[in-house]
Symmetry: C2
Subunit: 140 residues, 2 copies
DNA sequence: CTGGGTGCAAATTCTTTGCAAAACC
DNA sequence: GGTTTTGCAAAGAATTTGCACCCAG
């Protein structure tokens, strides 16, 4: 599907800048900062203002098209993968919460720290919800 | 062991501010920002300048006493847990790299986003190193 | 034509730095 | 006493905002 119809489907107005940003994110195999994107836009004669880029990225993030990753220095942005989720169940009260799989963050951290690109992962989580933790703490 | 001897062991001069910061971090069950720490110091009549706090946190981070976690907004700091490591082996060339377990970051993210405290995790990773990835990409 | 999108400059937020005074060993 | 640490004020990096103009629908 073209970016144009993709954007339309998400109720986002089509502009050449937005399409350019999506193309740039698509063709990168690692997270890009707003400034990276700014430079790459320039290279392809799509002169966007930095603040426009920030606004676009914010919009895309709200629409869950991209993911913002905060590491040291400027935030990095990546296109969202198949957003698989994890179900976290509280060990104490069994209430469960769904979270976005945190592996995209982990991937970027590892890429930055060790120069390693993950191809597969398996993640199991156990934990307790806030209320149960608070109750537990107040008993200690 | 007292903070004093702990600091001495790490070749860090003892000052009341440093001890206060360690106490504050120790008694928090979640990451604290520099400003959180600043406020908590005030509450206990340990008036430290914000820049002193940043410098202290930076020092502790270098000495690997604490971990800095970048989420949205100000960075959070936590005392380091038992730093367990992961061994990552490249699927292609078998070279291996040891990395710090990235779950401390993730724990904070999940705590902030879902109000869930992790108690256990199991993480298995597979990946390829930068060089192999680059070779592979240039073939594609 | 009209409301959302953009550029520009200025503001904000978080963090770092230079330097003189104070604290530690 | 000599080196480290601290406070203060000012600089710096990253991001956000206000407003006038512009363009897609």
């Amino acid at each position: 599907m073209s970016w144009e119809s993709y954007l339309k489907g998400n109720n986002i107005r089509i502009t050449s800048g937005r399409v350019a940003i999506l193309n740039i994110l698509k063709s990168s195999d690692k997270g890009l900062s707003a400034e990276n994107i700014y430079d790459l836009c320039k290279e392809q004669r799509e002169n966007l203002n930095l603040s426009t880029i920030y606004r676009t990225l914010e919009l895309f993030e709200e629409k869950e098209i991209i993911k913002k990753i905060n590491i040291d220095g400027p935030a990095l942005y990546i296109l969202k993968k198949e957003g698989h989720k994890h179900l976290l169940q509280c060990d104490l009260c069994n209430k469960s919460v769904e979270i976005q799989c945190p592996m995209e963050e982990i991937e970027e951290v590892i890429k930055a720290q060790a120069g390693f690109s993950l191809t597969e992962h398996k993640l199991e989580l156990k934990g307790v919800c806030d209320e149960c933790r608070d109750k537990k703490n107040s008993r200690d």
